[in-house]
């Protein structure tokens, strides 16, 4: 075997190891979900037995969830609900509704994610220009994240539908929701981005100067690649944030078609069918995990060339 072949074999081995590791994580997650379902059922049975005994245990309903069928529908009902059509005028099962809504929300979130990455990176690159700008702007970036989304969501929706007429394509509401998601996604990208760009080895920076490289060349050839592990750590947070942003944006922006709206709809007629809300929330949870999983998969492919372990979280 030549050295190249050895190296290739080693890389293949590592890749296989990573795949089994990823597979194991999925199994752990599934096992955990089953345990969670069991815990739910067990707790419900326990709580109901106490209810039945009329002991009036005060903890339940105060710091522990209430256990009647209206507040905690039986697990079997929740699972069965996926197959039932939620609307009378169609046979489409709830699972399909959730899937379609998930895709809709995913589209909003994906666009928001992309906007957020572009904006965040842009800000990071701007902050890199001088420490003065960095010091001047960073506190406000932090402050921006404490602004409650519910307050700005409707404003962005209105602004989106009135101020985007100049665009060559039609601005639809879900794009405004993406902007709301952007509001949450740009921040981690900007913060980790600046840290990542600054993480370039000073010796390497000096090397680029010795080549009389332009600022742009240094950015593209050195600082951006150096920031990749930091960016992926941010992307994972941003992926979750994008979905949270999309859901909150849909809810408070009055945009139809996505998970947020579905949750609101089912929440607003909760008493007439509690399992529907549970099923939808489970759908949202799965969507979040899938989104982060996708980022992690991309990260694995991109960073496998490098020495470092991917940064967690």
């Amino acid at each position: 075997m030549t050295r190249d072949e050895v190296a290739r074999t080693v890389r293949a081995l590592k890749r296989r190891e990573a795949v089994t590791k990823g597979g194991r994580r999925v199994v752990v997650l599934l096992v955990f979900l089953v345990l969670l379902a069991l815990a739910y059922t067990g707790y419900k049975a326990f709580g109901e037995s106490i209810d039945d005994a009329q002991t009036g245990w005060p903890v339940i309903g105060m710091v522990l969830p209430r256990t009647n069928d209206l507040t905690m529908p039986p697990m079997s009902d929740i699972v069965a609900e996926f197959a039932k059509p939620p609307q009378r005028n169609s046979d489409k099962p709830l699972a399909m509704f959730i899937l379609e809504a998930s895709l809709f929300t995913l589209r909003e979130a994906a666009l928001g994610f992309v906007f957020g990455v572009i904006l965040g990176l842009g800000i990071a690159i701007l902050l890199l220009r001088s420490t003065w700008i960095e010091r001047g702007v960073t506190p406000y970036l932090v402050a921006s994240q404490t602004v409650p989304l519910v307050a700005i969501a409707p404003i962005i929706v209105i602004w989106g539908s009135t101020s985007m007429g100049w665009l060559p394509f039609e601005w639809t509401k879900w794009m405004s929701v993406s902007l709301i998601a952007t509001f949450l996604t740009f921040f981690p990208v900007a913060m980790n981005g600046i840290k990542g760009l600054q993480s370039a080895d000073p010796a390497a920076m000096e090397l680029m100067r010795s080549y009389a490289a332009t600022r742009r060349q240094t950015l593209i050839r050195l600082q951006l690649p150096a920031s990749v592990p930091y960016l992926f750590a941010a992307f994972k947070i941003a992926a979750t944030a994008a979905i949270v942003g999309a859901i909150v944006g849909e809810i408070s922006g009055g945009v139809k078609g996505g998970l947020g709206r579905l949750i609101l709809d089912f929440a607003s007629r909760y008493t007439t069918g509690p399992p529907r809300l549970y099923a939808t929330v489970i759908g949202a949870a799965i969507l979040g995990i899938i989104a982060v999983g996708m980022v992690a998969a991309v990260e694995h492919v991109v960073l496998s060339e490098r020495r470092e372990e991917p940064l967690a979280l």
Binding site: A7, A203, E206, L207, M208, R209, S210, A212, P225, R306
Partner: protein, 262 residues
């Protein structure tokens, strides 16, 4: 070995003060004058903080003198940098871990806008020079420290600068690989005829490698001795020759005369 009378580096009465006028002001260099002939192999040695790296960075126009002048190849140091007259290598190889060995060597060429084919051709040539043909497609993490330094040297030489500036390139290697790398470097120097300015902490290394050892003292950094080393062709036995040990002693004495406590 070199008879070229041309002057590769001319430093005249250079001083360097960091953070002048502030509380953390540092007089890094003072009244440094130095001429380095083309094709020479010159080492800078001195205790930590004496300004060796600063002096090297002044030659490379990576920082600018507070007083005095630096000329490289009869141009201003800045012009020389823009003309890519020199290549650089550091203690940490500074290879980009996201680039394969070949891509690392091609980096300066890419920045200069070379075509892909031309770059590849030159990289192959350089890999031969540093004897790493087999590792063309490896990534830095798959290589030992010595191999990485060889790649860094190949990268510094890839665009054929006339001057090579090296800042403790072998500082992170263990003594055995270090001796090996020293031999390799001398071979490359002989083959290419570059001017080399070499910063080191190690007296045997300075003596073994160079024709001239510049000894520096700290606070502020000054040149305290300029020792000619004439050991002829370096071979394995050079390291065991009495003349070699004598030169080591001479450099040590020069260093010691300036040293107080660590």
């Amino acid at each position: 070995m070199t008879d070229a009378p041309r002057c590769a580096v001319a430093i005249t009465d250079v001083s360097k003060v960091f953070n002048p006028g502030r509380a953390n002001e540092v007089h890094a260099l003072d009244a440094i004058s130095l001429r380095i002939d083309e094709g020479a192999f010159v080492s800078l040695i001195g205790p930590s903080g004496c300004g060796k790296s600063t002096l090297l960075r002044l030659i490379g126009a990576l920082t600018h003198p507070t007083g005095g002048g630096v000329r490289v190849n009869d141009k201003s140091a800045d012009q020389a940098r823009l003309d890519r007259d020199y290549g650089m290598a550091f203690q940490t190889s500074g290879l980009f871990k996201w680039r394969s060995v070949t891509e690392n060597i091609e980096l300066p060429l890419q920045l200069m806008g070379w075509s892909k084919a031309a770059r590849r051709e030159r990289a192959v040539e350089m890999l031969e020079l540093v004897k790493l043909e087999e590792f063309a497609n490896h990534y830095p993490r798959e290589m030992s420290g010595g191999m990485r330094q060889r790649v860094a040297i190949a990268r510094a030489l890839s665009f054929r600068p006339s001057l090579l500036l090296m800042d403790e390139p072998f500082g992170a290697l263990d003594e055995m690989s270090r001796e090996h790398m020293q031999t390799e470097l001398l071979e490359i120097w002989k083959k290419t005829g570059k001017t080399i300015v070499f910063v080191t902490h190690s007296i045997p290394e300075a003596v073994f490698l160079s024709q001239r050892v510049i000894v520096m003292s700290p606070r502020p950094g000054r040149i305290t001795a300029d020792i000619n080393v004439d050991l002829g062709e370096r071979v394995f036995e050079t390291r065991e020759a009495p003349a070699f040990f004598e030169k080591i002693t001479e450099v040590r004495e020069a260093l010691r005369s300036e040293e107080g406590s660590a």
